[in-house]
């Protein structure tokens, strides 16, 4: 399988970052970047990365199952990750989480029927001083209020 020319260029550069014989080092970022493009770490992606790094597919699966951002099934186009860890909790992150579940009618790591939005209750995302916080894919939203959350979820629901 091949990825987009931009990602292929990125991977080609990445493989030169490590000492000779240490190309396996690219595995974690390769899995994440491939997932961003393909939508999930499919069996095809696992086998392709294994082939490129000279390891068994099982060794890729072993790594894949460890990292919480990597997933084998596609998530929504907008993956909404709400932090409920301590600093966000103290600022109502848990209430926002319940609001999002109720509004979308889905729970943790679930996707809406139209495939547009998915939800995940996440651990600390490093926005503690601007809590409560969430990420839509890689974009941070700080000091989220109930109204702001509604707006974010509505715009996610409309996105293509």
């Amino acid at each position: 399988m091949t990825f987009s020319p931009q990602l292929e260029a990125k991977f080609a550069k990445m493989l030169t970052n490590y000492p000779p014989g240490r190309q396996r080092s690219a595995m974690v970022p390769m899995l994440l970047f491939a997932q961003d493009e393909v939508g999930a770490v499919t069996q095809e992606v696992v086998e392709e990365i294994a082939r490129r790094l000279g390891v068994f597919p099982l060794q890729v699966e072993e790594v894949l199952s460890y990292y919480s951002m990597l997933h084998r099934k596609p998530l929504g186009k907008a993956h909404v990750q709400i932090c409920t860890n301590i600093s966000c909790l103290l600022n109502g992150g848990d209430v926002l989480w319940e609001q999002a579940c109720a509004k979308l009618g889905i729970g943790h790591k679930e996707v809406t029927a139209d495939g547009r939005v998915s939800l995940e209750e996440v651990e600390c995302i490093g926005a503690c001083s601007w809590a409560p916080a969430l990420q839509v894919n890689y974009d941070f939203h700080h000091n989220v209020t109930s109204d702001k959350l509604d707006q974010i979820l509505e715009s996610c629901g409309k996105s293509n």
């Binding site: 994440l32 860890n85 301590i86 600390c124 503690c128 001083s129 601007w130």
Partner: protein, 429 residues
């Protein structure tokens, strides 16, 4: 960009360029003393670089507080193996969001710190490991690295000398445990982030089993100022054995949460009242986590403490990663303990049994207790289980889960008692 207003009480060393137009660009950096320390270090003896670091009393900002100069001196400089510099930007300790602002606003300061470390230990390559969630920072860092290559601050024969150095970013993909140095090295080698048994320490066998300097983002960011202005100048900003300033991340029930650069030894109560503008809603203080969720919690009456490694150790807590979480009088400490334990149970890799089983049992016990289904003997059981994890795990994750739990059970027993005979949390209806 900055997400909170700076405070007039700040001492700006690492954050001095924050807020300047295009503060992340190499032009702004070079126009404001950037890479001067590197140019100076290029003509210093490596021993003199490490000596400045020792004089500066800089201690690791990731949490452990190990003296940086000493850490660098452990690298066998004459070893035939290549040496590496690895930056720990896997910031994921709950309450901590400082490395994020350092990379976002001044990525070249980090590159310069890495270059000086490379000169000190004779390294030829460096990896800046950034947690996967911080994708935009990886882009910022990649851009800064490309600029540095263009301007001759990275690459071959830098500034007309024999010294050559290459620098790369490396993305994580979601794992708190990878913030532990040996787990980070495993991840960098394309494996699960399972900690290594030490010794050997990374200084001897780190990245690719070669001698490695591994420090937190903020630690490297302090290095240029130390070399430029001298170790003594940096040391004098802080307290004895706790040199310089550090970034504190104020969060929780506070009027002006934010990331602030303050001298080491800054009084905690002053930090809360004057820097942070006091407790929100005029409420009373109940508890403070002084350095990220793994630290033992301080009761309000224990908060007359100076924020440096030694003073907090004396107060039986830790300065940790600088995440200061403030909790007001209406906070349910059982709920806080429960949420913190849910986190550690989620992040435990399962490699060693005390942590895997301990965090899972404590999570279940604390959830049940918070729901009002606990018994009096559970209170003792929670403390006992946590104490049984202490010092019995390969990596500090077990201790990180145990320490806040033990302190909350011991210091806030009333909150636990209040949950007995209730159907649900009596503090949060």
């Amino acid at each position: 960009m900055l997400y909170n207003e700076p405070s007039p009480l700040e001492t700006k060393v690492l954050t001095r360029r924050f807020g300047l137009p295009n503060s992340a660009s190499i032009d702004t950096y070079v126009a404001n003393d950037g890479y001067k320390a590197f140019e100076k270090a290029l003509h210093m003896d490596w021993k003199a670089i490490i000596e400045e670091l020792k004089v500066s009393n800089l201690r690791g900002r990731g949490g452990a507080g190990f003296p940086t100069g000493m850490k660098w001196s452990f690298v066998p400089r004459d070893s035939p193996k290549p040496k590496y510099i690895v930056v720990n930007g896997d910031e994921s300790e709950p309450g901590t969001c400082k490395d994020r602002v350092l990379i976002e606003n001044d990525p070249h300061q980090l590159i310069e710190g890495v270059l000086i470390a490379a000169l000190a230990v004779n390294a030829k390559a460096g990896y800046i490991y950034i947690r996967g969630e911080y994708r935009y920072l990886i882009d910022i860092m990649d851009k800064a690295i490309a600029e540095a290559y263009d301007r001759g601050y990275l690459g071959k024969n830098l500034r007309g000398t024999e010294f050559s150095f290459d620098c790369y970013t490396q993305s994580g993909a979601g794992a708190y445990e990878v913030g532990e140095e040996s787990a980070l090295l495993e991840s960098l080698e394309g494996k699960r982030g399972i900690p290594r048994i030490r010794p050997p320490f990374p200084a001897v066998a780190g990245a690719f089993q070669c001698p490695t300097v591994l420090n937190n983002v903020e630690t490297f960011c302090a290095v240029p100022a130390i070399i430029r202005d001298g170790g003594t100048t940096f040391a004098e900003l802080g307290t004895p054995k706790n040199g310089g300033t550090r970034l504190f991340c104020l969060s929780g029930h506070i009027n002006k949460p934010g990331v602030y650069e303050l001298p080491m030894g800054f009084p905690l109560m002053r930090m809360i009242e004057e820097v942070g503008g006091g407790i929100r809603g005029g409420k009373k203080l109940k508890a403070v986590i002084p350095g990220g969720s793994s630290c033992p919690v301080l009761k309000a009456e224990e908060c007359n403490v100076a924020m440096d490694y030694d003073s907090l150790a004396k107060a039986k807590s830790m300065l940790g990663s600088g995440g200061v979480v403030i909790m007001d009088e209406d906070t349910c400490m059982v709920k806080a303990a429960m949420r913190i334990m849910r986190f550690y149970a989620h992040e435990s890799c399962g490699w060693c049994i005390p942590c895997r089983e301990g965090t899972a049992w404590l999570r279940k016990l604390l959830i049940r207790f918070h729901e009002g289904m606990g018994t009096r003997s559970d209170i003792t059981l929670i403390g006992d289980l946590a104490k049984n994890m202490l010092g019995r795990t390969f990596c500090p994750l077990g201790d990180a889960a145990a320490m806040p739990t033990i302190s909350i059970v011991e210091k806030f027993r009333d909150d636990f008692e209040a949950h007995l005979n209730e159907r649900a949390c009596p503090i949060h209806a």
